[in-house]
Symmetry: C3
Subunit: 139 residues, 3 copies
């Protein structure tokens, strides 16, 4: 069994953003040499997500508005977590809706994807450098 | 390490439905001969889900109503994604709540399940043929 | 390839609770001897979750309130599932938001975690003994 590990670093200037990280994950896969197996891609921070969906600007706008409606950032004082001095409780909630990470099949050294699947890093509490873990196992 | 891959095809006539796909995944597992490992089952389309829950008609009705409340299909114009000519933005949102897919343990060539666990395909934008990927790795 | 399996049992006296199960999963990992691979940790019951987030009491309070708002327990009669004699339809919904389980990378016989990641059992329909599955594969 082969095993591969890499950290990808991201720094989002604003509070929230969606970044297509499919090319970086593909680079990892080629580097790993794994032909058949599984790739795990997960946020290493608990106010961020890795998820799979469409690379369409309008949809990302819809996600942003929808998540803000489901778990609004303000008023900050509505969340007990923010009494610790943080203002990111909403980010912990949003991340649960979008998920911590994804597991993708590897077939023939490629991400085994449907026609529109792309991997995104979802930042919900930006302004500093944060990491995504890529772990690949297989043969 | 053994590796197995199969696509399952589904065609839902209406817009939304939940289909129990546990028997098909079990067939894949037997076919694979994998005794110990992991099964990944995921929708290959970004307006559909694969998830694990109860095979109970009333609960599926509750999911349908709840998801429609969290991310209503109409009015279609409320979503920027639908300005691309699509009317399925809500399906991209619903799918995030229910998840893209599941990873299930394989023990003794069986799905290692609790008493009520069943695997469902969740269609949120039907009317055409769509695929689910089953990938199994192990020994 | 090595393979390891263990069931963890939990009994929550009330209806809902979040329990940090990271130490138990670490014990499993050490017991397994797996150095490189993947750990799957999932609820075996469909009214419970396993998820990764912060071990902060205020945040857990926020999750509790937020989930109760997204999928209220009462009135019980609002859910068709509860016509089967159950009163736990809301628990099936809440569990979808928080997820069935997590897949974690194993590197050097350790959970390959970011600084604040902790694994939680999320109970949404307590009052009886329920199980979490830990499955580890790798080398």
């Amino acid at each position: 069994m082969k095993s591969y590990r890499k950290e990808l670093w991201f720094s989002v200037p604003g509070r929230r953003a969606f970044i297509n990280i499919t090319p970086q994950v593909e680079d990892c896969l080629h580097e790993s040499g794994v032909k058949e197996g599984l790739v795990l891609v997960n946020a290493m921070h608990i106010t961020a997500s890795v998820f799979i969906n469409d690379d369409e600007r309008g949809l990302h706008h819809d996600y942003e508005e929808w998540l803000e409606e489901l778990a609004p950032h303000e008023p900050i004082g509505q969340y007990q977590h923010n009494r610790t001095g943080e203002d990111n409780a909403d980010a912990h909630l949003k991340r649960q809706v979008m998920g911590r990470g994804v597991v993708v099949a590897v077939t023939g050294n490629r991400l085994d994807f449907g026609p529109w699947e792309q991997i995104f890093y979802g930042e919900f509490d930006g302004g500093r450098r944060k990491r995504v873990l890529v772990k690949i196992i297989g043969e």
